[in-house]
Structures are given as structure tokens and as C-alpha cells.
């Protein structure tokens, strides 16, 4: 992904990789994450984000990949690569992409724990109440 973004007319490539962070705040721990998508719509929304970026910033290349399915703790779930002639737009566009993904792309993350699972962002889970203590 990064080498595809290297262009002589660009001086800056900003990359963001979202990895599955594991908080060990409660007794049990997350075994893995599982991402589910409304596939054709999610793909289209990712393309829309790329088009928004090209329109708003001096950016020559955007690529975004989101993994679906099981991702182990510490593993990469999303990767964003933006190339621009200048570093300011590269950073801004890369940040915009991840914020926008979290806003509009129909993808859902489920934390699978040893004792149940949690749909992140939905306050819906199957884990025993004890973990809230």
C-alpha cells in the first residue's frame, strides 16, 4: 500500500493503522475482535471518503483497507495511506479518513471475551454482569 503511494509529485505520505487494542481493565480479557460489514454499502462509503479527501485537500493518492472478520489482539484492522505534495494536507486527510470511517462506514466491531461478547458502541453484550464491577 505504501509503495503504491510513492509518487515523484508528492513529498509526504501519511499512514494510519488502526490496531485492536486490548484493555485488561476487567478480570477476563478480549480473545479476539470480529468485524462485520454491510458489504456493498461499506465499500461504497470507503470510496466516498476517498473522493471527499481528493476534493478537499491537495492529495494525489488515497487508499483505505478495512479488515472484516476475526482480528487478533494487536492486529491491524484498518489501514489508510494518503500521499500529498505537502505534509500538512497528508496528515489532515489521513486523520479525516479515520474519523469519517468511524462515522459513516457500516462496519461493526464485536469484542469476543472468554465469557461472552460485546458489540462495541451498542451497549449490547452477552457477558455476565460481574464484569461491570
Amino acid at each position: 500500500m505504501i509503495s503504491a503511494a510513492q509518487r515523484p509529485d508528492c513529498g509526504a505520505i501519511s499512514t494510519f493503522i488502526g490496531t485492536t487494542r486490548v484493555d485488561e481493565s476487567s478480570g477476563a480479557s478480549v480473545e479476539y475482535l470480529e468485524y462485520e460489514a454491510y458489504r456493498p454499502m461499506a465499500d461504497r462509503k470507503l470510496e466516498e471518503i476517498g473522493a471527499e479527501i481528493i476534493e478537499r485537500w491537495e492529495v494525489r493518492h488515497v487508499s483505505i483497507i478495512h479488515r472484516i472478520g476475526r482480528v487478533d489482539p494487536g492486529g491491524a484492522s484498518v489501514a489508510i495511506v494518503v500521499a500529498s505534495p505537502r505534509r500538512g494536507p497528508a496528515f489532515e486527510a489521513s486523520r479525516y479518513a479515520i474519523e469519517r470511517i468511524k462515522e459513516i462506514v457500516p462496519i461493526w466491531k464485536r469484542e469476543v471475551w472468554s465469557d461472552g461478547y460485546v458489540w462495541v458502541g451498542s451497549q449490547v453484550d452477552t457477558r455476565p454482569l460481574s464484569h461491570e464491577v
Partner: protein, 80 residues
């Protein structure tokens, strides 16, 4: 006939990821919702958190749903 797709916590609440609703007339999404609730009462408590898409694009409650459309029930997204 309208195809209803459910994702994430909404699929859990409904106990299914997909079902079909008989629909002979054009309705708004707002008027379709009671039929969804009726078939899957588990969806009711999460009503305020849900978004909807018609044919793969976000839709408001006054947008129209016609026979043959695909309606998706979308809990708060949590990608990234």
C-alpha cells in the same frame, strides 16, 4: 416484498440477520418500522440508536420504501 437486513447488535436483538416483509404498497421508512418491531420485538429498545439504509444508502424516516427494496437496520457503526 421488502428484504430486511440486520447487522451487529440489531441482528442479535432480532435473532436473525435477514427476513422478508410482505409489502404491497409504498410506505415511508417511518411507517415500515412498526412492522419490523412487530415481527421482532427485541428491536424496540434499541430504536433510538438505529440508523437505516434503503438500497445501500442512508435513509431518513420520511424516505420511501417500495416493494423490491432492500432495507438495512444499522446499529451505531464501530469500524476503525
Amino acid at each position: 416484498m421488502v428484504k430486511i437486513l440486520l447487522f451487529g447488535a440489531a441482528a442479535d436483538a432480532a435473532g436473525t440477520r435477514e427476513f422478508e416483509l410482505q409489502l404491497s404498497d409504498v410506505r415511508t421508512l417511518g411507517n415500515l418500522w412498526p412492522l419490523l418491531e412487530d415481527r421482532h420485538p427485541g428491536l424496540s429498545p434499541m430504536r433510538d440508536t438505529l440508523a437505516f439504509a434503503v438500497n445501500g444508502e442512508y435513509a431518513r424516516m420520511d424516505d420511501r420504501v417500495s416493494p423490491g427494496d432492500e432495507v438495512a437496520v444499522l446499529p451505531p457503526v464501530s469500524g476503525g
